[in-house]
């Protein structure tokens, strides 16, 4: 009896190892990369957010010097497939505080229009399929038809 049970254990051990092994991988089913341009020329820096239309984590990408980007979720490359609203925000280099008072730098001038920075107003909506996706974001200075500029308010 005990011999049988232990042999059962042995047959189960490869399964156990497999579970352990897969437990450590866990990547996302889709990947997205592409380039971002504004009025035809590639952005040199900036932040891209992939905000899911379904429950799940938001994913992000930093724009590299040549305008290219690759989406990451947390520390992993890729993201879950699904529908996403994409927001983009790029600023000119921030102005360092030279007074020696240790103040934070002044944020640089905003390059990309504000409607691209908010989920509510961004016209960039894409469906990400399982596997690799190429999404090239072509931003323009022409506002979308339903764009209402936010009222300026003092903080």
């Amino acid at each position: 009896m005990s011999v049988i049970s232990s042999s059962r254990f042995f047959s189960a051990s490869p399964l156990l190892l497999l579970v352990v092994a897969t437990g450590c991988s866990g990547t996302y089913d889709a990947s997205v990369s592409g380039t971002v341009t504004f009025d035809g020329s590639p952005l040199k820096s900036g932040s891209i957010s992939f905000i899911p239309g379904q429950p799940g984590p938001a994913s992000y990408a930093a724009v590299l010097g040549d305008g290219s980007y690759t989406v990451n979720t947390g520390r992993e490359e890729g993201l879950p497939p699904g529908s996403y609203t994409i927001t983009v925000m790029a600023r000119e280099k921030s102005i360092e505080d030279t007074s020696g008072r240790g103040l934070p730098p002044m944020p640089g001038k905003q390059i990309t229009p504000t409607w691209y920075a908010q989920k509510k107003s961004s016209p960039l909506k894409f469906t990400v399929e399982a596997g690799s996706n190429e999404i090239n974001l072509e931003l323009t200075s022409d506002p979308p038809p339903d764009w209402n500029p936010p009222k300026r308010r003092k903080r």
Binding site: V3, G23, C24, P57, A58, G74, R91, P107
Partner: protein, 237 residues
């Protein structure tokens, strides 16, 4: 007792022996599998949760800084370092040495605090001295667990979160300017005070002077040691 009976007895003893041995072996194997599976994902024994995410500052990816997860229960505090693309992975202690992104923390309720700061600035006044910390980029309310408002429920397995923080408010900036101005005034005052005391030299030099003059004149010792005391106090004031 017949020969057959004897054989049967031997067989059953043998069976006992075999089963005991196999059980022992199975136990050992279980231990090996258990330990390898643990070390494969980090050596934290009861930590079951992976926490990864992204920190944004005013909607843009943060570039550097640190995150602390304070347990609302009694779980160990977890730490995260923000990479150049705003991403982070939390860890307890040194985390998973093989793959820091696979570090595990304890599942439970946490309040997070976040501090974002700019790159350290080289010390121009004293070359060779350690660089002064970079400017604070995030509002200090995120650095205090009573005011951060960053509460998270961490479950076993993969947790992906976004931590959105804002830069210091106008009031905070005004307070920073005021503090810097007050510091400058203090520095100027202490410099003025130090001037009459025959050029404030580094502490060690002043100390050797004090030792040297000991035999010559007792009064000079007092003067010199006063100067030592003052130069030592200077940084704290």
């Amino acid at each position: 007792m017949t020969f057959q009976n004897l054989m049967q007895l031997a067989k059953s003893k043998m069976n006992d022996y075999v089963s005991k041995w196999t059980l022992r072996f199975a136990g050992m194997l279980l231990c090996v599998i258990a330990t390898t599976s643990l070390t494969g994902c980090g050596s934290e024994t009861d930590a079951t949760a992976i926490v990864q995410g992204t920190v944004t500052l005013d909607g843009e990816l943060a570039k550097s800084g640190g995150i602390v997860f304070h347990s609302k229960g009694s779980d160990p505090t977890a730490y995260g370092t923000i990479g150049g693309d705003g991403s982070f992975a939390m860890r307890v202690g040194r985390g998973n040495a093989d793959n820091i992104d696979r570090s595990k923390i304890y599942a439970g309720e946490y309040t997070a605090t976040v501090t974002l700061s700019g790159p350290p600035v080289a010390n121009e006044e004293y070359p060779g001295a350690p660089p002064t910390p970079g400017p604070q980029l995030s509002s200090s309310r995120y650095a205090n667990k009573a005011t951060s408002g960053l509460d998270y429920t961490i479950k076993a397995g993969m947790n992906v979160i976004t931590i959105a923080v804002e830069s210091p408010s106008e009031e905070e900036l005004a307070a920073m300017v005021e503090a810097a101005a007050a510091e400058e005034v203090v520095a100027e005052v202490s410099e003025d005070e130090a001037e009459p005391e025959a050029s404030p030299k580094p502490t060690s030099e002043a100390a050797t002077q004090a030792v040297e003059t000991t035999d010559e004149n007792d009064g000079a010792v007092d003067e010199a040691s006063d100067a030592v005391a003052e130069t030592q106090e200077e940084p704290s004031s």
